[in-house]
Symmetry: C2
Subunit: 405 residues, 2 copies
């Protein structure tokens, strides 16, 4: 199949491109490399030494004889180029990773809020409008997040996208299925909630065939394909903005930095290993909706954990200290989370769990590159509101920790 991987230079996009290329697909990466520019803006870098995308593609070709094509294009600002590119390449499937994806980055300052909404909404909408305009009947797979539901404390299991409701009508109650209501907790999560409305409209009005994968927090760094050559190594973020909770703990453990738990650590989150993430995309590709179908929504995760339990588990594994810090986010202190993932299991996913030895692989990778870490960039500093910013700033525990670095 001819597959476009939008955002294919990123943390999940790159291993996905390799995985699909390895399966024999013709893979085209489209990326504006904005994520590399953000590293420059923040003065951080991937823990792993990441080559240019062109060099990575060259190595892949050298190792496997397979070609991955790269196209430099900004989905959000270059609508006309996007349209001609689609018209020329006519992909049969489009996998859309190309959004600003860090919640803390999206809450950093007003400029970052504005950038995130502008970039993500226009990237997704431009893509939809261009697919309709070029008449390309590709299966569009988008990466969303369960975070759109806001981890409220209702304790209801997160279903796969839809909710049964009964609506009062003059002739009695009528059953309907609606998009499960969202309550995003950051500007980033909000953009994923906006995306859902865009997808619903274009599936309904134009018959676009769309699968939206509500992904948990991705952990790990290697997949079978990134392991093949040192220069195929994946991006690995550790900083307070882009590093995500489980990977951050593993890196912190590797460099002898206390594991930074926010608040009570009572937040429960869903996780998936990067190898399962790329496998899920392969499975979703095999199961395309028909024109006229509603948007297909899958939860892409394999297990849930409470943040403090994760910290304790990794502390036990590695001997690291755990530090409880004031929470820069506005969120519930404690929440339960039950997530259904029946659809991927039915399609044949065999989940990789935290128990399977891959935790130490991540610690090993982190140790190998520990000399590349700027410890001052480890703490998460983006505060969700101006009030929280003041509280976090004045906290003595936080001061103590900031002096660790």
């Amino acid at each position: 199949m001819r597959i476009a991987v939008l955002g294919g230079d990123g943390f999940v996009g790159w291993p996905t491109a390799l995985h699909l290329s390895n399966l024999g697909h013709e893979v085209h990466i489209v990326d504006n490399l904005s994520r590399r520019w953000i590293d420059t803006e923040l003065g951080v870098q991937s823990l792993t030494p990441m080559d240019s995308i062109q060099e990575r593609c060259r190595i892949w070709h050298q190792e496997t004889g397979r070609k991955i094509h790269f196209h430099l294009l900004n989905l959000a600002t270059e609508y006309e180029r996007l349209k001609s590119w689609l018209a020329d390449e006519r992909p049969e499937a489009v996998i859309h990773f190309a959004e600003q994806r860090a919640a803390p980055y999206s809450m950093k300052t007003d400029r970052h809020k504005v950038y995130t909404v502008n970039n993500n909404t226009n990237a997704t909408h431009n893509l939809l409008a261009a697919l309709v305009e070029t008449g390309i009947d590709a299966h569009l797979i988008h990466l969303g997040t369960m975070g759109v539901y806001g981890y409220s404390s209702v304790g209801a299991p997160i279903p796969e996208g839809y909710l049964d409701v009964e609506i009062d009508t003059p002739t009695g109650k009528k059953a309907q299925q609606i998009l499960y209501p969202t309550r995003p907790g950051s500007v980033y999560h909000m953009t994923k909630s906006l995306d859902q409305i865009l997808f619903q409209f274009y599936a309904q009005n134009d018959g676009l065939r769309i699968t939206d994968l509500h992904q948990g927090i991705v952990w790990g760094t290697h997949t079978d394909q990134t392991r093949r050559h040192e220069q195929l190594i994946n991006r690995f973020d550790y900083d307070g903005d882009y590093g995500t909770v489980l990977n951050r703990f593993l890196i912190q453990a590797a460099i002898g930095y206390p594991l930074t738990v926010h608040g009570t650590g009572g937040q429960t989150r869903a996780f998936i290993h990067v190898q399962d993430s790329v496998r899920c995309i392969e499975l979703a590709l095999q199961d395309a909706p028909e024109a006229g179908d509603r948007v297909r929504i899958f939860n892409q995760m394999t297990e849930t954990h409470r943040v403090r339990d994760l910290a304790e588990m990794i502390a036990k594994l590695t001997g690291a200290e755990v530090a409880y810090l004031p929470n820069p986010r506005k969120e519930a202190d404690e929440n339960d989370l039950i997530v259904k993932n029946d659809q991927f299991i039915a399609l044949g996913l065999k989940p990789i769990t935290l128990a399977e030895g891959l935790l130490s692989e991540v610690v090993d990778v982190a140790k190998k590159y520990a000399h590349r870490i700027d410890r001052s960039r480890v703490p998460a500093v983006s505060a969700w509101t101006k009030d929280i910013a003041k509280r976090v700033e004045h906290d003595p525990e936080g001061k103590r920790l900031r002096s660790v670095s």
Copy 2:
């Protein structure tokens, strides 16, 4: 009160600015005049001869001694200027009309879709981010539309914004109120559905105080204030993109053009006279939410009518012919519509209805300026999908009608 009227050069914004200025408020219009540029793009003009905004403000001052300030600013693209403007003027209330508001225009071509999403989403989001950043605790009143609910055929009364649902949890069913699910029928309506998510987030995260008015189709042209001087006259759109159904029928009747009903005319829509529209905004201003409140959502309409009934009523009143044309929109042929407007009635709104003689006032205005009409711009030509475009193009009834012009 110091009030910013964003989009105050438009059809509803201008009479609102006059109404509020007349009540003694200090009114600041912010507008990028994009609507005038769109007239130029489409090669159409307001039926009524509309002076420049600066000239209109000068006349208002001359007639009343009151000042309305005008600021040329693009909310969607000039975030930094917007922020400094807010920081300088510190409005106590902000009324946000500044969006691209025609469904047919939003569906014209892919370029128009992209423009509408980009303009409307960024305008609203920039405003929200700038309010948070400047710490201005203004009451934000936004103009939304009932069209976000998509006029589905469930026949349920449209409530004021929220829906009671029961969610299954491990410990039994839990009652919740959620945003009433949307199913927008055009790109324009979709942007209003996106706005709702933006408002929900900023009310919850930052305590912004927001009222979202889900307005019906506005009809009429004069208000008490626009009647005061020929040069205060309101914009009056008749073309197939910006002209809205009831006003279009009245204009068509005035110039002896058949009343153009799409499909069976079985669509039921909600209406409000422009005088009531400005009155509702006055009422909403008096009833501001507190910080921490959820977004207040009012239905701003006074009556509902089936399109073909409206056409027959106006045909009877004026002797006009009714023409049934193929529908360029993708929508249900027939729908019922029951809308609750209890909140505005409770606040003291006394609805002006179609029965009250104002229909003929509109016909009189239309007759007076009939010489300014380009009859070829009367038909609605924007088709919702490429398939519909083909069908509409080949329809013999449509051909006949196009030859009328």
